[in-house]
């Protein structure tokens, strides 16, 4: 028999924080994926909320295309605060 579908698990550790990817698991359906995620990834109260996403639904960028993909950001130092030279006397800005 074939494997159950693969799901990616995201956990919010407490309100105010984002859901973070914490791993993956196999489950027959979304409900089972949620329950398995609870059992596998939150046995010690690590979470207050769980997302499960079918792994097949994720579109990922390719590492070998990273250079081109992220290139537009490489020469835009003016997007960072330190690009702007201001007098030292000016404290917090």
């Amino acid at each position: 028999m074939k494997d159950w579908p693969l799901w990616e698990v995201f956990i919010r550790s407490k309100n105010g924080l984002e859901h973070r990817h914490c791993g993956s698991l196999h489950a027959a359906d979304a409900q089972m994926a949620l329950e398995n995620a609870r059992d596998v990834y939150t046995r010690r109260s690590e979470g207050v909320s769980i997302w499960v996403v079918p792994s097949a639904m994720i579109t990922a960028s390719q590492p070998e295309e990273s250079a081109e993909l992220f290139d537009p950001a490489a020469d835009k130092a003016y997007r960072h605060p330190t690009f702007y030279v201001l007098p030292d006397e000016l404290k917090h800005m």
Partner: protein
Amino acid sequence: MSEMEIKSLEERFNQRIANDEKIEAKDWMPEKYRKTHIRQISQHAHSEIVGMLPEGNWITRCPTLRRKVALLAKVQDEGGHGLYLYSAAETLGISREELIEQLLSGEAKYSSIFNYPALTWADMGAIGWLVDGAAIMNQVALINTSYGPYSRAMIRICKEESFHQRQGYEIMMALMNGTQDQRDMAQDALNRWWWPSLMMFGPRDAESPNTEQSMRWKLKRKTNDELRQAFVDQTVPQAELIGLRIPDDKLKWNEDRKHYDFGDIDWEEFWQVVNGHGPCNKQRLEARRKAHEEGAWVRDAAMAYAEKQSNKPLRVAV
């Protein structure tokens, strides 16, 4: 890809590892790196799953409810650790089905320690204290391994596992504070588990042909002998503290080396067990096969149910 291209990719890859960069699942990696990682991570996963058997065997016979909830939680953790590790192995392009098949067919190895029987309640103490202690020593070293998914699984596992060792030591301590029979039981368990625990670190460095490559890939951060020595140094005082005697006449503190010297490991026994002739090899695999076969209808039923429900909308994430 031409040989030249592969060579330059490989050079860049080695440089990334030398710079302590992590390798992630979709990154280019040498085929041998992929294969070695699949083998090591899956062996590790199988060890967690087979490791549930000797202790699962004692859950119904725990002396108190406190011990029972602890042992249940420990065995449940091991199931979870197996899952983290299988998932990490799957990122390298092998399916769960293939991994399980390799275990059940006997093609894949798992830690030999689980081919020894857990004969008395004190064995639950010795396993937690020594076997988990040795495993933690290995795993802490692996937190800095180069493959990202493996390293992340190790972080999670190490965090969860420290209670395993403490509950084991507490069992030994309780027995050593008990009657003469209980103290004898604890000593007997140490006598039986000590040497197999030292074997958990694998062959001596001189006889471990993969060590050099694994160190270069940071799949290993310390050699077998270094880890074994650290384990002995850490464990001897723990035994003394509760009045247990390490079953090794050659064990002696070496002031020059600042380490304990210890006796010779029976490597013949080690290879016997690795090659399938330990006391419980057959029994362990049969138990796994039986569980897998008897669970088949549950897996099928869950899938059939999921297909039936598949038209219902999923709950929307918020």
